[in-house]
């Protein structure tokens, strides 16, 4: 059963809802939403976490783009 998580890209207004299989990692979610893990820092429910952290229902995933390139 897929579960829903909220995904917010910091600096953008809207929050997306994304369906993932339980146990999906943040790294896998990033791929799904087209973000390169080398260029972002991720907060899971308000705390910075490693991208191998698995997701569960209702999680809030905030993506902070930190690679600005100069």
């Amino acid at each position: 059963m897929a579960v829903e998580v909220r995904v917010k890209i910091v600096g953008q207004r809207s929050t997306r809802r994304v369906k993932v299989e339980p146990g999906t990692t943040i790294a896998e979610l990033l791929k799904k939403v087209g973000q390169n893990r080398e260029t972002v820092v991720v907060r899971l429910n308000g705390r910075i976490v490693a991208e191998e952290e698995p997701l569960k229902k209702g999680d809030l995933v905030e993506i902070l783009p930190v690679v600005t390139g100069g």
Binding site: N36, E38, A50, V67, G69
Partner: protein, 319 residues
């Protein structure tokens, strides 16, 4: 919950190229250790030196300022900050206050120099003129050359022994690739942790050269350092293509960026013989050191009908 490989606390980062997880404390310590190692191994800073730091307000330069300030505390040296206002509307105006604020927090002397007052035009204005005249040059060419020119001059006027920039591992590997693509051996050769060309040039140092850009982002977030996180509106073309290429390479093959840097370091000593030596002299127009009649800045300015003003950037009472 994923745990730190070193102390067992909650992990904030998976450093895949090293196969370890790090907590906030171990991450901060690791970045600071790498910074110190780069300085010690390459003798970037000698005791008692005056180091000018180029601070834009972005994360890399601000992190560099904080790290160097901590490093130089005590008797090791002195830090001054220089900010160049290129005049990029909607971008630089957001980062300048953060450069000033961070210098103030640290109690570091801060100097602002601008394209407008040195060259009579902002970068935005130069870009408009260049487009009208059809010079075919992109904004980064004007910006890069002229920013380096002003930083060097300001650092020299401030009697700095070194000029530090916030170039990170990503910047370095991108520059290596770019010079490959452009077959520019002389520029490639210059990509060293410390580069001291000649008289008139303040030696440039890059203490963040072995720290991936993402880790600097993490470092400022974990330390609660306020920085400007925005992308320059002029960023485009081959620079961004190379950046994206290297990031997807790294995502699929961790450690690629370090390997590119290591390989370059292996090759670099052999490049010395292939790079021609230049006779240094003063630019006929502005007096800054150059190997040609006109320095690159004056040549670019001439192409768009401008000329550098012959005056000091830092007023005497100011340093």
């Amino acid at each position: 919950m994923l745990r730190c490989s070193f102390c067992g606390r909650r992990a904030v980062y998976h450093r895949r190229y090293a196969g370890v997880f790090l907590c906030d404390r171990c991450m901060i310590k690791s970045v600071e250790r790498r910074f110190r190692r780069a300085i010690n191994q390459n003798k970037l800073v000698n005791p008692g030196e005056r180091i000018a730091v180029a601070v834009s307000g972005g994360k890399d330069s601000v992190a560099c300022l904080h790290l160097l300030h901590n490093y130089c505390r005590g008797k090791r040296g002195e830090v001054v900050a220089i900010t160049v206002d290129e005049g990029i509307k909607g971008y630089r105006d957001g980062s300048l206050p953060l450069a000033r604020e961070n210098a103030e927090i640290l109690g570091v002397e801060h100097h602002l120099v601008s394209f407008k007052s040195a060259f009579g035009a902002t970068l935005d204005e130069m870009v408009r003129i260049a487009a009208k005249r059809g010079t075919g040059l992109n904004p980064c060419t004007y910006c890069g050359v002229m920013r380096r020119h002003l930083l060097n001059q300001a650092a020299r006027e401030l009697r700095a022994d070194k000029l530090a920039t916030g170039h990170n591992l990503d910047d370095e590997t991108q520059a290596i690739m770019l010079n490959y693509v452009r077959a520019d051996l002389s520029r490639l050769y210059r990509l060293a942790p410390i580069y001291a060309p000649r008289e008139g040039f303040v030696p440039r140092i890059k203490p963040l050269r072995e720290i991936p850009e993402k880790e600097i982002g993490l470092y400022v977030l974990l330390k609660g350092i306020k920085v400007h996180l925005a992308v320059c509106p002029y960023a485009s073309g081959i620079h961004t293509e190379i950046r994206d290429f290297l990031n997807s390479l790294e995502a699929n093959h961790p450690n690629s960026k370090f390997m590119i840097l290591r390989m370059f370091e292996e090759i670099r000593p052999y490049l010395k013989e292939a790079v021609p030596e230049f006779e240094m002299r003063g630019c006929e127009r502005c007096g800054e050191p150059t190997s040609t009649r006109l320095c690159k800045t004056c040549e670019l300015l001439q192409g768009i009908g401008l000329a550098k003003r012959r005056k000091k950037l830092i007023s005497d009472g100011d340093s």
